[in-house]
């Protein structure tokens, strides 16, 4: 498919972006971090976003994760136009519809594994009782095979284990989309495989995943790869 072609919103699309732009003012210079990106992410897709440093992939991730807003174009999430929504609405979508997995895990060191996993439930739309939070947290840990480490602290875990806990945290709110920013960047090849196999399993269970990576091995797990350069999508490979 040509990257210039505007994608049609699919009925079951999680995200539909049209001609999305994000510019920053750096003194007198305007930086175009995203320059007319159009993209549809269907439900259940495993999307890899690849590109060199400064290509705009992180900006795209931040916008998909409702941590940043576009300066132009439109974006549609689950059929709702979310182009100019408020900070509070963005926070609510982050809490309830999006799961994040970071390169450096970003677990809070003073909290136990289970408390880290259930943290998003505290910020969810409805208050969840602690008992129910723990139950949901244990289920999420079971999905990533880390339930036996629930009472440990993050610094008692290996890198691969920490990333699996971080994935459990991303799953806890049953999100529509999981965004993973270089999730294997800090892992050795053995743990990289463990994490990627886990993602593959979760995709089979029906989650939608967008993953930013430099690593071709990781990108090859995905069923779609888009390559970015200078804020544009220059390649969309669905093979």
């Amino acid at each position: 498919m040509s990257v210039d072609q505007i994608e049609k919103p699919a009925e079951d699309a999680v995200f539909t972006l049209r001609n999305l732009r994000r510019t920053y003012e750096m003194g007198s210079e305007t930086v175009r971090a995203l320059d007319g990106v159009s993209l549809t992410i269907p439900d259940g897709q495993f999307l890899a976003i690849i590109g060199s440093s400064g290509s705009g992939k992180s900006t795209l991730m931040h916008i998909l994760g409702f941590m940043d807003s576009p300066t132009g174009g439109t974006m549609n999430f689950e059929g709702e136009d979310v182009t100019g929504i408020s900070r509070a609405r963005r926070a609510s979508l982050r809490a309830n519809r999006i799961g994040f997995v970071f390169q450096s895990f970003n677990l809070l060191p003073r909290l136990s594994v289970i408390d880290n996993v259930v943290l998003p439930l505290i910020y969810g739309e409805r208050p969840v009782r602690r008992k129910d939070r723990i139950e949901a947290g244990m289920q999420a840990l079971q999905r990533v095979g880390m339930d036996h480490r629930a009472k440990h602290t993050p610094n008692q875990l290996s890198g691969g284990e920490r990333q699996r806990v971080s994935i459990a945290r991303a799953l806890i709110n049953k999100p529509r989309l999981i965004l993973a920013d270089e999730p294997t960047g800090n892992l050795d090849s053995k743990n990289r495989k463990v994490v990627m196999d886990l993602f593959t399993k979760l995709i089979e269970e029906g989650i939608t995943l967008a993953l930013v990576t430099h690593d071709d091995v990781v990108a090859n797990y995905a069923d779609r790869r888009i390559r970015m350069q200078d804020g544009k999508i220059i390649e969309d490979d669905r093979s």
Partner: protein, 414 residues
Amino acid sequence: MNIVGDFISGAANGFREVWANKLRSLLSMSGIILGVAALVAMIGVVQGMVSNLRVSFENSGGILRLNVETQDPPEEQRHIEGRSPGRTLNDAIALREGLTHAQFVGAEVEGGWSRFEARGHRRWALVRGVLPDNLNFDTRGLAEGRFVSELDVLYGSPVVVIGSEVRDRLFGDIDSPLGEVVRIQGGSYTVVGVMEESLSEAGGGVRSRFVDRQNFMPATTVLRRFREDQNIRELTVMAKDLPSLPDLIEQIENILMQTHRGIEDFYVSTRDEQLADLRRLERSFMFSLGGIAAISLLIGGIGIMNVMLASVSERIREIGVRKAIGARSYDVFLQFLSEAVVISVVGGILGLLLSVGLLAGLREIIPDGDRISGAPLVAMFWGFIFSSGIGLLSGIYPAIRAARLDPIDALRYE
């Protein structure tokens, strides 16, 4: 989630943070701990002092009591001021004979602190020379025996009415000290009476050791044996009632003008002024303490703000993570504000506990400190409220800084 629920959840997080950083939290709350402890302890001490003064005011006749004070004579009498004998026991005798509106006339001669010896025991205690009516200026009665009599005064008898503390120290091993002889400054004196303990309702039933170490002798005996001059320390008159006060003052002035041979080296002071002074003293103490407390709590608040700002800087990444997984700015604001409040509330509670310990120590150390309250509840309440308020105020700015952080920048922070 409602604001109360959010705050409770924030407070739980706050406790966890305080517990996880025990030393840092303790250091940050030290200002509040010391501020609250100092505030409550000082208020306790001042209240004790003022209470002592009030009780002593009431015990010594209240508003109906008039004092004859000395003063320099007016300019035109300066060259003949030597004609006046000054304030002497004769004044008291003349007033007793001449006044029609007085209930009692008392006089007191200072005998000073002296060594009392009896039955192999020793005790330093205070000697006061008095007239029989002085018993009426004291709310204490006699525990046993009698007070100084007219005849004792007339003859300058070597008798003493001892305080309960002196009785306990010197005669604790016998049933009654009446008729026993006490050696005081080389002289021998017969114990004729014992004063009651200084228990009073106004003092909450606590004993004043100072009052119980006072001993009474006839004024004439003290003048003869303990002093080289004829001056008396105090000349007091108790009015029958409030309406007769102006007439009584005029009578006193007329009589004393005769005994002082026309020299106006005295004046009659009413106790309205003393009562007003007492109230002014109390107010000024409270204002000074309020100022000191405000400054110390402000310093405590600055300490908390400093630590909270450091905490925000240390936890920028954590704030980023929390925001990325859905925390609103309001949630982050409340989290840091709750932590500041937890620090100040815990600091306030520790300060209150410390103040109770301080007050217990001060009761022992300060002379006549029995009236110091062990736990001045009103001061403790306000100390706690102020410390919590300070925590709230000092937490606002760091909490706003934390809440305003952009999640993307916060997550990139190394």
